[in-house]
């Protein structure tokens, strides 16, 4: 009993250490630079308590569910040895998680409103909604494609660098032709697609797959799915921008 309690306490204090830098930065700027008392001290403190408890529970669940789930499925797929299904799985997982990603919805909505304000698209409600939906669909298809390509890469053992090099070359090329209204949001779409539920699952999946295929190294072949998923949306959102606004 005492032992469990002690290990629980040490785990919670570890979680506290993860959040401590944010507390320090915010306190420093409020007191030293802005030089005003905290506007809602009680609420802020309560918020930090919630953040620490939430992060603690999440990390427990991570080790108990997300990692084993991703790894087990990868091993089962490898046992089956059917490439078609696992590639389809990679695509579906990427597409489904991205289309439902709350952060993407928020950013796309904001991008739509700002584009309408700036007169880049028609300010009618329908046209904004269409633009927002187009952004989300493009990003989700791009992440799905990344999932499929990433899985094939692991199976074949192709080096990641080739894909990164090719991907960035395409991105640089697209940037030259993309209208300037889309460039910022396109680069952001690349970073936003990876949430804290998908990342552990996808990482575990890649590593599980690389560990169960003969001749693959989990370090070299297992990582890289997330990198691909952050790369494809940039290119495809810019293509979408060229399609909507015309080339620059």
């Amino acid at each position: 009993m005492v032992k469990t309690l002690r290990s629980l306490l040490s785990k919670i204090s570890q979680t506290f250490l993860n959040v401590l830098p944010i507390i320090l930065v915010i306190t420093f700027f409020q007191i030293v630079v802005i030089q005003k008392p905290f506007p809602h001290l009680q609420e802020t403190l309560f918020g930090f308590v919630l953040v620490i408890i939430g992060l603690f529970i999440f990390i427990q669940g991570l080790e108990q569910a997300l990692f084993p789930l991703g790894e087990r499925l990868a091993v089962e797929f490898a046992l089956k040895g059917n490439v078609f299904w696992i590639v389809l799985f990679g695509f579906t997982l990427g597409f489904a998680t991205t289309i439902a990603e709350p952060a993407l919805t928020v950013i796309a909505q904001k991008a739509g409103e700002i584009a309408a304000e700036a007169g880049a698209i028609d300010a009618a409600r329908d046209s904004i909604a269409g633009y927002v939906w187009g952004l989300r669909l493009t990003t989700a298809l791009a992440v799905g494609l990344a999932g499929a390509i990433g899985v094939i890469r692991i199976i074949k053992g192709w080096p990641l660098v080739i894909f990164i090099l090719g991907g960035y070359s395409l991105i640089i090329l697209a940037t030259l032709f993309a209208p300037k209204e889309i460039i910022g949001i396109a680069y952001d779409a690349g970073g936003i697609t990876t949430s804290c539920i998908t990342v552990p699952l996808i990482t575990a999946l890649g590593i599980g797959l690389a560990s169960s295929i003969r001749g693959r190294n989990p370090m070299i072949d297992g990582f890289g799915l997330i990198a691909l998923a952050s790369l494809t949306p940039i290119f495809f959102v810019m293509l979408y921008g060229i399609f909507i606004f015309g080339p620059s």
Binding site: P21, G54, M219
Partner: protein, 272 residues
């Protein structure tokens, strides 16, 4: 009464998190049922773990959104407010004079960008997950904390430079393309075992905690800095925060190799 209010919000957040995880569960369930055709072993334990993931994330997000983001965003707004930057001289007309305010007036904002990027990255749940996995499969050659520190430093430097760019108004692609070219040179010289992990770190950094604060910082700055446009300058900080961690992780691996000679490749052997 205030406590009751939070319980309401936590339930809302639980619902949203559940909706977010639903497509994942559906995809997994479909493939388990249609392709693998086996009963999931330990499904009770997995289900309980999933419940913890959803509950933990919901509580985490409520704490962030209700208490920390409002403070962070108002801080970003205040720090980039011309009145705050100019101190006692209150007349905005005499300040602008048709010229931009130079970056030297924005030292506090740039410092804020660096520190908030660094601090929020250390609390990023997705990065914690990847760092745990990296330590596990490198059998300890890559330390979880070292990796997270390297990524956090990269995010901090990236955000600081991104803030500087918004103030100066230079087009984003100049920075990004230069950065990518530098990254490719670095990749050429790096140990090949670290490269995929480094590239993954770039995508991982900007999710739950960092992304909303960076968007708020970018939009706040772009609406306050004279002559900058929301559409052109408001977004883009996230791109900086994804690019620089890749460089910093590669650099971290190089430094570790040179000074501590604990090279990951000697440990992580390919499967027979």
């Amino acid at each position: 009464m205030a406590k009751l209010h939070y319980i309401d919000i936590i339930f809302d957040s639980l619902f949203i998190t559940l909706m977010g995880i639903l497509p994942i569960i559906l995809v997994f369930a479909f493939f388990q049922w249609a392709v693998i055709r086996k009963k999931l072993p330990h499904w009770k334990k997995l289900l309980a773990g999933m419940g913890m993931v959803v509950l933990g994330l919901a509580v985490f997000i409520v704490g962030l959104e209700e208490c920390i983001f409002p403070l962070g965003t108002s801080m970003a707004q205040q720090l980039s407010d011309p009145a705050f930057l100019m101190g006692d001289s209150p007349s905005p007309d005499s300040l602008f004079d048709g010229r931009r305010i130079g970056a030297e007036f924005y030292v506090e904002v740039i410092l804020f960008g660096f520190l908030i990027g660094f601090a929020t990255t250390l609390a990023e749940p997705a990065l914690i997950a990847v760092a745990l996995k990296a330590r596990e499969i490198s059998t300890g050659a890559i330390s979880a904390l070292g990796l997270r520190m390297a990524v956090a430093l990269g995010v901090g430097v990236g955000v600081a430079l991104g803030v500087f760019r918004i103030i100066e108004g230079t087009p984003i692609q100049y920075y990004i393309i230069t950065g990518y070219i530098f990254l490719l040179v670095q990749t050429y010289f790096a140990t090949k075992f670290i490269v995929p992990l480094a590239y993954d770190s770039g995508g991982v950094t900007t999710s739950t905690v960092t992304a909303p604060l960076l968007v708020a910082l970018g939009l706040g700055l772009a609406s306050n800095v004279p002559d900058s446009s929301l559409l052109l300058d408001g977004f883009g900080l996230i791109a900086f925060a994804s690019l620089f961690p890749m460089m910093s992780v590669l650099a971290y691996a190089m430094i570790q190799k040179r000074f501590f000679s604990r090279v990951p490749d000697s440990r992580a052997k390919p499967n027979p």
